[in-house]
Amino acid sequence: MLKLESVDVAYGHVNALSGVSIEVRDGELVTLLGANGAGKSTALMTISGIVRPRAGSAVYDGTDLLRASPYDIVGLGVIHCPEGRRIFGGLSVQENLRMGMVRRPDKAEARRDMDWVFSLFPVLAERRNQSGATLSGGEQQMLAIGRALMAAPRLLMMDEPSLGLAPLVVRAIFGVIRELHRRGVTILLVEQNVRQALAVADRGYVLANGKVMLQGSGAEMRSNPDIEQAYLSAAPEAG
């Protein structure tokens, strides 16, 4: 359903992505691994229509993403839960969730989804009238995921959802990722937490210096010593 082919992205003279081809099929959980600066976030920003590549193609369900605006892309159900959470600190928890559903025509259904998000993250229900800025880091991450879920994603892209969180919170977040996968949401997960990511992923790609270095099924990659060497050693231990 999502297919990037030979995508080149450059920021000025710096190549962020060179000839990257990635595919995510319906219902799959695909993980994108790599060290800082490998180009993982750039790949997601390209799919979201924020960053425009120099060459290559990006197609989702027959729609050319390179000709679509972020507004259109959200309308397709391609939802990006960005790195660093980026919740709206001055908005209440409930208002943040409401901003997730602005592009949905089915408002009644969306309100039911809000109850579902509150059941996934009960702490958000308790703090629904508190401003986002008053939440802890873990709660903000839950809010960021909840806000993305309010958009009824068909393809959910998550950029480092476990970054900087306590092990217990990381476990909870990955529990929700598994749950979403079970429910049939297609997921593209960017992570530095390689072990956790490969434990849940159907397939994975390893990016380095803007290129795809390795790809394979989750099981293959879990047993591939090259990943240990090339990447795991550099990754921070968490969870």
């Binding site: 979201s48 924020i50 972020p70 507004y71 892309i73 959200v74 309308g75 939802i79 990006h80 960005p82 980026r86 919740i87 709206f88 600190g89 001055g90 908005l91 208002e95 409401r98 901003m99 997730g100 602005v102 592009r103 800025a133 806000r147 958009a151």
Partner: protein
């Protein structure tokens, strides 16, 4: 006049002038919050609305019809300004946007000078606006009461708008994190156009009230109000809507207070004293009254 009456009289004056500053400052603050653009051409929207209203009155339309048409003209001018001058600069450096706003100001003011000549023209207001209500020793201008009431209604409406409606909440969201807003599918162009429309509508209202108060209009009439509005939003914390309103009332209060307290030889220099107080305030709170929390912009 007793001390209480004098105080009340001055308070009404302060709230009245503060209300006009507040309506102006909101337009600046809303646009700055989202785009980081200080739109100095915002003042010229006052002029556009007032001239359109005057033109229609000269053509024989009643004041209130002309006033509403003037407000509509300001709103339209604000939308056109956004579309033509600022939207092509989306993502450009803040300095480029600031310089563009100066260009827009120069263009509009010179256009008005060519069309209407540089001299001022009398702006007739209806009797209600010029009426004075006497209560004991108290003399309250009808215009002041109307300005206060109109500002209260518009501020209440704006508060409901940014708290209750999708696009109002989206406006606050966009001012906090534009990228996250885009990733959520918020139509940023619509949000920005709405911010310009609301700010311009309020500038149009200020234009009518201001012109009726002063009794004459000229092509450069927007300069002083936009300067005051800018100062008000800096006091309040640039980009914050509640801050802009608070800053506007603080500025209005200071002006009236110093007008009353300064010996008569010094009253011509009132603004110098006002700005001295503001400089002192900014030394203690460099981000303005509500500007300390960086993330909360609206």
């Amino acid at each position: 006049m007793s001390a209480e009456e004098l105080l009340l009289q001055q308070l009404i004056n302060a709230v009245s002038i503060g209300s006009l500053y507040a309506l102006m400052a909101i337009g600046l603050a809303m646009v700055f919050g989202i785009l980081r653009l200080i739109n100095f051409a915002h003042g010229d929207l006052i002029m556009v609305g007032s001239y359109v209203a005057l033109l229609l009155m000269v053509l024989g339309l009643p004041f209130w019809v002309a006033a509403i048409a003037g407000v509509a003209a300001s709103t339209l001018a604000g939308l056109v300004m956004e579309r033509v001058a600022y939207r092509p600069l989306r993502g450009a450096h803040e300095i480029s946007m600031l310089l563009t706003s100066f260009s827009v100001t120069i263009f509009l003011e010179n256009l008005a000078i060519i069309l209407f000549r540089p001299t001022s023209r009398p702006f007739p207001g209806p009797a209600v606006l010029r009426s004075v209500i006497e209560m004991g020793q108290l003399r309250v201008a009808g215009l002041d009461l109307i300005a206060i009431a109109v500002a209260a209604i518009l501020l209440l409406a704006l508060t409901l708008f940014v708290r209750r409606t999708d696009i109002g909440i989206a406006m606050r969201a966009a001012s906090q994190d534009l990228l996250a807003a885009r990733l959520m599918g918020i139509n940023v162009n619509a949000v920005i156009a709405t911010a310009f429309a609301i700010g311009s509508l309020m500038a149009g209202v200020v234009g009518i009230l201001w012109s009726a108060r002063v009794g004459k209009i000229d092509p450069l009439m927007g300069f002083n109000p936009v300067l005051k509005a800018f100062v008000a939003s800096v006091i309040g914390g640039l980009g914050s809507l509640p801050g802009a309103v608070i800053g506007a009332y603080v500025l209005g209060g200071l002006e009236i207070l110093l007008q009353g307290l300064l010996p008569s030889v010094l009253t011509p220099y009132r603004d110098a004293f006002v700005f001295a107080v503001l400089i002192a305030l900014l030394l203690f709170r460099p981000n303005g009254i509500l500007g300390s929390t960086e993330k909360e912009k609206i």
